[in-house]
Symmetry: C2
Subunit: 374 residues, 2 copies
Amino acid sequence: MPIVAFRIDPWSSEAVKEYEKLFKYFGIRPFKEVLPELRKLAEPHLLMRRGIVFGHRDFDRVLEAIKNNKRVAILTGLMPSGRMHFGHKMVIDQLVYYQKLGIDVFVAIADIEAYAVRKKSRKEVIDLALNEYIPNYLALGLDPEKTKIYFQSNHRTPYYRLIQMFSRKVTIAELKAIYGEDLETAKILAALTQAADILHPQLPEFGGYELVLVPVGADQDPHLRLTRDLADRFSNELGLTRPASTYHRFMSGLQGGKMSSSNPESYIALSDPPEFAVKKLMNALTGGRPTAAEQRRLGGEPEKCPVYELNAYHLVHDDSELREIYEKCKEGKLLCGKCKKETAERLKEFLKAHQEKLEQMKELSSKIVPRPRF
Amino acid sequence: MPIVAFRIDPWSSEAVKEYEKLFKYFGIRPFKEVLPELRKLAEPHLLMRRGIVFGHRDFDRVLEAIKNNKRVAILTGLMPSGRMHFGHKMVIDQLVYYQKLGIDVFVAIADIEAYAVRKKSRKEVIDLALNEYIPNYLALGLDPEKTKIYFQSNHRTPYYRLIQMFSRKVTIAELKAIYGEDLETAKILAALTQAADILHPQLPEFGGYELVLVPVGADQDPHLRLTRDLADRFSNELGLTRPASTYHRFMSGLQGGKMSSSNPESYIALSDPPEFAVKKLMNALTGGRPTAAEQRRLGGEPEKCPVYELNAYHLVHDDSELREIYEKCKEGKLLCGKCKKETAERLKEFLKAHQEKLEQMKELSSKIVPRPRF
């Protein structure tokens, strides 16, 4: 029996309600519905098996297309800000999984959004992408020869033509409904650019893919809705079709709350020295009880535990091993001290292996992704 | 003595007041101020000698740059809509003049603005540019080997990067002040694109010109003001400098009012068969009096005469010949019938010679300007 979503759900019931809204009001479908069909093609990724990828739009079209040998691309965008951490790793793990299934991977570096909307310096953003994000992506297993990585500011003409053409068929009122009343020039351009990121693999100049899949966090769905509308509006003129998408849960911060690049206490970076990472882990909040005695009596609460999350999302690949941790915790047989120590071993092992690859990938990433001017 | 601006001014005093506002409120300078310096370099073009090019911003910087052997570019944009007529010819005559002085010419085909703002079909716009406008430009004397002609939808990456970067430093409120409260997504992109048209020759990838000159009709100054502001805001980051500009008067329509592509009665197209063109000329409004007797007594009004304009702007190249026409008309010695006949001869001669070149240029224009996709 697979571990189902809500058994290991690390979120408060409030968050779960938010996700349920997505099903109810926005037409996102539960991912578990497509698991049986996916299984016919390949073993689902642990993020899928464990309900961390919880929703989708049109994923059945993706499965259908793969079965019929149609060309499918998968796209992710990266905003270079701060350091790459375990929260970011989730998307890359999915890309690697799909790439192994034969789906071509596009990575858009959102340097223009970082520059124009977030007002970062061009140099800082470009350096961060080439020295921090892309090497980590490659070290996590993306094939440097097969992955199409580009900067938004440094792509080819037909991509920009798409941005220009999109401007004809979306109103400022529609953009305000998505991006808020404080919409600004830069956000408008960023929105059109993001839609072009998602849809441009369908253009003949970029491979003429029949379908593009976009794995995102649940908060990104408004962008997907805009892009779906644009695809509809350009279906006759440019032959575009709606993208498919999947939705994953966010990781909690190590101290509770959100895991965020802007709060170093909340995350472990993939390039943190292992001993330093372990220290952060040891200081992390858990789902434990105030006293050991109480925990032995009542059991722990893995659903509320960032350490359990780290295991479930990243460090424990075997489902029965994870189930054992879960159950022992619930039964009060595995206390937080021991659990953290075991997690620390897994963490160190992962980071050591990852960081060895990372060093090799730093040089490579500057070679395979041309650095934009300015 | 050169024929000065207000002597041959074909506009109502109302229009003159409008132009005077440009001097007073917007800091546009009278072009006649720079004529003496220009004369040291070259004989001014007839449009300049006759006050048809009446205003400028920073033209003194252009003269200074030429004197110091700095690299100067001149740029014009063309919006493919309807047929190319004598009203359009004015700008091209200026480009040809500057090109002979050694200034490099850029021509931006505003196909994206035509598509996204004016909602024309891509195919129609592209065909019109390649079959109608560009062949006429070349037949008017632009050097096909030296002129850099591009479609807004089909340029190179650094041009688009400029558009993206501009989005950071101009607010929607500023754009509304220029383009009106009914600003839409497409107009925002068109405004940023137009600024990139004007400023991109300064980028190293496009020649690294030190200064760009833009000759425009008086109504285009708001675009120039936006572009000057953007140049200032990117002077540190990208080393951009403000463009220089000149302002010319519009031609009147043959039936009075505006000369406009959307009203075929108002213009003579450069590809009109000469006999057809002459018919339009013969039906044109003039500055004549109700009766011949009255005209002999009071003299005609060349200032109000579209036929006189056609001579002054285009058909009579010799200033003393034009002055003779002007004076004989004013003195009641040259009546409209005779004047129209003489003008018809000049018109036929011009159109015949032009249209011979035009045929050769149609093939050439498709060769030198790559046709965009879609």
